[in-house]
């Protein structure tokens, strides 16, 4: 049994079929990547797995360690051990950086919070008194979100475009944090367009038109990804006719 099993997942948003009979099985303890062109449904998949507002009216099956996610809210899924890092993390007025990290942390002691901040590129001496609000840059917020996820010690982490807004130096830190999550036993799913991020993964899923077309090693999947699937000659690629996907 995989950590997360998805069968025949369908989701429509504003009349469009975004997830279209998707099947997915995640092996525990690995770093996976979900790659595919813009509009493939990658972020929608993450939002649906997490149970965000507007993404709950799916059909099909999603099970986390055998438990159906159908009737569970976001917080209940998180308490099972799942979490999501957004492409554009939220700002929090009135919360200091360490307070935000501590909110989700299993170990809430100062030293533990400082360690997590340091591992994710937020020097505790510089960021201890900083607010988690709009005074942080996009890259800093990205690191802060990752720090809160590392502190949470989840079983399954989905990171949507973990490199967006990140400079080259910080990118290496984020790679380290992902390794840290894996070493702690977490299963990581990277939703990405970046070849560098793909290199952090051990296994990839190729997604297009709301389906997983293929899966396998990075070497196997990356040629399709590098071409952005356009033109794509993958044998499983659905054809789009006037009547929709086939």
């Amino acid at each position: 049994m995989g950590l997360l099993e998805i069968e025949n997942l369908h989701l429509r948003l504003n009349g469009s079929h975004i997830l279209n009979g998707l099947d997915l099985d995640l092996w525990e303890g690995h770093v996976h990547a979900v790659v595919g062109p813009n509009g493939a449904g990658k972020s929608t998949l993450a939002s649906t797995i997490m149970g965000l507002e507007g993404y709950r009216h799916y059909t099909g099956e999603m099970r986390f360690e055998g438990t159906s996610l159908a009737d569970l809210g976001v917080d209940e899924r998180a308490r099972l051990g799942m979490t999501l890092g957004w492409q554009e993390p939220a700002r929090f007025e009135g919360l200091k950086v360490p307070e935000f990290v501590r909110l989700a942390a299993r170990d809430k002691r100062d030293n533990a919070v400082r360690d997590v901040m340091a591992h994710t590129g937020l020097d505790p001496d510089r960021y201890w008194d900083r607010a988690a609000d709009k005074t942080l840059s996009g890259g800093e917020r990205k690191k802060l979100e990752l720090a809160s996820i590392v502190a949470m010690q989840p079983r399954l982490v989905m990171l949507d475009e973990p490199d967006s807004g990140i400079d080259v130096e910080s990118l290496a830190r984020i790679g380290e944090a992902i390794r840290l999550l894996k070493d702690g036993g977490a299963t990581v799913v990277l939703i990405t367009h970046s070849a560098e991020v793909l290199d952090w993964a051990e296994h990839a899923f190729l997604m297009c038109c709301g389906r997983i077309l293929d899966k396998g090693s990075i070497e196997k999947i990356s040629p399709y990804f590098k071409d952005r699937c356009i033109p794509c000659d993958h044998p499983n690629r659905p054809t789009i006719s006037e009547g929709g996907l086939s």
Partner: protein
């Protein structure tokens, strides 16, 4: 009879006011129950039938190193407390005041404050007012202040009412800022039940290169009502200002914000932003995705909104 011990205990400032280098003034209903002065600070009081008149002068050039604590309140369920305050911060003096307004048992209490404040040339006055009310909300609070900043003066005020029920509050502050002044007025109020919150903050940037910020943070839940009026006028070259109002509305509560900005000089500039509505869904889902329940996440977001600095 409300004693100083009662007031200090509720305000949790025993340790602060036991320091002989910390000036303080404590007023229980219409009695001065404790006071301590320090060099450079003159405090005169006159007890009235329903309150106390206070005159405070900070001497020219005096720097009051430690924050002055003022404690107003009463422990009885009923009563009226009127405070008339005349404060002068003389040229180049500097003072910080923390006012604790404590009404932990109020059922039918009125706390009326009328302040006339002059901050002279180059002087600096920071004022933090924190209210502690009863859970019943049986109180009406009406703080009014007219503040005048002479050239080069600085003034910052933080008003906080997030502990206990608001009851009814009607804040009315008006500041006039001469040249090269810096003014910042912040208000954070949390209302529940049938609380009624009314805030009127007005700033006049009449001097060249004066600066002003009006910032309001309000959370209303249940059937509470909030009406916020922020007005900032810039009438001189180089005057700059910003008005910022954010309100979170939950349940059957309602909020109304009116930011008014006026510019009467071609080299003046004022910006404003206002946001009213429910808790931000992205913030909420981020916290819930870390395992907080919806109620816990909402509380974190509201408490954050109501915190300054």
């Amino acid at each position: 009879m409300t004693t100083s011990t009662d007031l200090f205990e509720v305000a949790k400032i025993h340790k602060d006011v036991s320091d002989p280098d910390v000036a303080h003034l404590a007023i229980g209903l219409n009695k001065v129950v404790s006071s301590n002065g320090v060099k450079g600070l003159e405090i005169q009081t006159e007890e009235q039938a329903d309150g106390v008149d206070i005159a405070i002068t900070v001497a020219e050039g005096a720097v009051i190193a430690k924050p002055v604590h003022m404690c107003f309140g009463l422990l009885q369920e009923e009563g009226i407390q009127k405070i008339n305050l005349r404060l002068v911060v003389e040229p180049r003096a500097r003072i910080g005041v923390t006012a604790h307004c404590v009404f932990p048992n109020a059922e039918d209490v009125q706390h009326l404050m009328d302040a006339d404040i002059r901050i002279a040339e180059g002087a600096d006055y920071a004022y933090f007012e924190r209210h502690i009310h009863s859970p019943e909300g049986g109180i009406t609070v009406v703080p009014k202040a007219a503040i005048h900043l002479e050239p080069g003066a600085r003034f910052k005020t933080d008003f906080e009412l997030i502990e206990g029920r608001v009851g009814s509050i009607d804040i009315d502050y008006e500041v006039t800022c001469e040249a090269d002044t810096r003014m910042e007025m912040n208000a954070a109020v949390s209302g529940r039940g049938d609380d009624h919150i009314q805030i009127r903050e007005v700033g006049h940037l009449v001097g060249e290169d004066s600066r002003g910020v009006l910032l309001s943070r309000v959370a209303v839940r249940d059937d509470a009502v909030a009406e916020i009026y922020n007005e900032l006028t810039a009438s001189a070259a180089g005057a700059r200002g910003h008005v910022d109002c954010k309100e979170i509305v939950q349940g059957n509560a309602s909020a109304n914000a009116v930011p008014v900005v006026k510019v009467n000089h071609p080299k003046a500039h004022i910006t404003h932003e206002a946001a009213l509505g429910s808790v931000d869904s992205r913030q909420l889902e981020t916290l819930m995705a870390r395992g907080l329940s919806e109620d816990e996440a909402t509380e974190v977001i509201i408490n954050g909104l109501l915190r300054f600095g």
